[in-house]
Symmetry: C2
Subunit: 246 residues, 2 copies
């Protein structure tokens, strides 16, 4: 198999898609998601885990707000994974992740995830390649556990954003008063590591493949939101759920 090359993959919607029409469809899907999530909660047989991975300013937060914000928060749980605490560091890297695996009936969203342990940690050379390979195997085993032993649909999205768009959004953080809170003094150093990150993402997508990745062109929010909404809708529909009888 040829190694995936992210630089060859577009960060934009396919040609000819109409933004206004797509946004209207997304709105319809988002309404349907509300009903499907209620059914998931009621039937209590399946679980859904949405993993969002992408570089800084790839648009994870807006995606969560716009696609998942219409569902009942009782059945949706969003968890961000930042730098691990001391207690978390004293355990294997999946310990803190497994705790937040979705129960049956729930949709959990990971805003960053266990993949940071083979991305940021590799880019900064905090772990060697041998450890990274072992972690990839452990990640495959872990995701299989969720799929096979708790009826979990795992949807993994890599938010693929161009360098130009990334820089544009990071600049906004310094200028827009509503976005300044997102500014991080490491933003400027991290973006210089973009090529290294792309390489590590390619490795992750290639090797952590028991559950397939969806490469999500992420320069345009309307397209990204459409794809995620549609994928989640199709996944939930595929469960062929029914409300339990008395």
């Amino acid at each position: 198999m040829n190694k995936i090359n992210l630089s060859d993959i577009s960060t934009r919607a396919p040609e000819g898609m109409d933004k206004k029409a797509v946004k209207a469809v997304t709105q319809e899907i988002v309404q349907e998601l509300d009903e499907l999530q209620n059914l998931l909660f009621a039937e209590h047989k399946h679980a859904v885990l949405v993993v969002l991975q992408g570089m800084d300013a790839s648009g994870k937060d807006g995606l969560i707000r716009n696609v998942l914000g219409n569902m009942n928060p009782q059945g949706v749980n969003v968890r961000g994974f930042k730098a691990p605490t001391e207690e978390e560091k004293d355990h294997d890297f999946l310990w803190r992740i497994h705790r937040f695996a979705p129960a049956k009936g729930m949709i959990h969203v990971f805003n960053r995830s266990h993949y940071e342990d083979i991305l940021v940690q590799r880019v900064h050379k905090w772990i060697d390649d041998e450890t990274a390979v072992k972690r990839m195997q452990a990640i495959n085993d872990f995701e299989r556990l969720l799929v096979e032993h708790n009826n979990t649909a795992v949807l993994k999205f890599y938010l693929h954003v161009s360098e130009e768009k990334q820089k544009e959004r990071l600049k906004e953080r310094m200028e827009d008063p509503h976005k300044m809170w997102k500014y991080n003094k490491n933003d400027s150093t991290e973006i210089k590591l973009r090529k290294d990150y792309l390489k590590m993402y390619e490795d992750a997508i290639e090797h952590c493949n028991d559950v397939k990745w969806i490469i999500l062109p992420s320069d345009q929010n309307w397209y990204k939101e459409y794809v995620v909404a549609q994928t989640l809708r199709d996944t939930l529909r595929s469960f062929r759920m029914e409300y339990p009888k008395l």
Copy 2:
């Protein structure tokens, strides 16, 4: 490989061992364990997980009290796994187990464990063989995660007890006022399933073998305690630990 046959394996100490002499040695080891555990806690590089599995009245509780009771409770954590709660049942079977995996510096003891999910559940036919095989694979993956990703030594003991000794101890529960609290109305039905349990233990020992099992002759408490104390001591010594300098 020939399938292991537990009925062929002795439940008693090897011939010629002197009970009094062995008990004296065990006492010395138990003293050393206290010091080694302190070093483990101080050095903070390794973790130890002791898994105790055995049928009713195989002597798990006494073993914990006599071998591990002399160590500083700050560094030792004993967890019993009974029937899962509703919340636990809504997750994969390893979810509740992983939460109690030992942090670096800690010794955790599982009084029953994730193995119940391929023992009691199979004996009572709550799961089919296909599910059992998948769970065995998941258990191997899980134990490898602890070993490779958190420097955990996993010591798995199967407490091998004869039918006579088992019945004798269960009878004591009905007669000795200090033991009546252990009486369970299911004891008498479970012991009738002894042969089925042995078969499922054989399967578990054969297939969940990435981390080796120690088959522990358990009719005599003094011998069982000696073997566990010695194994734990040798494991801790093998870490070649040192107190951190300033």
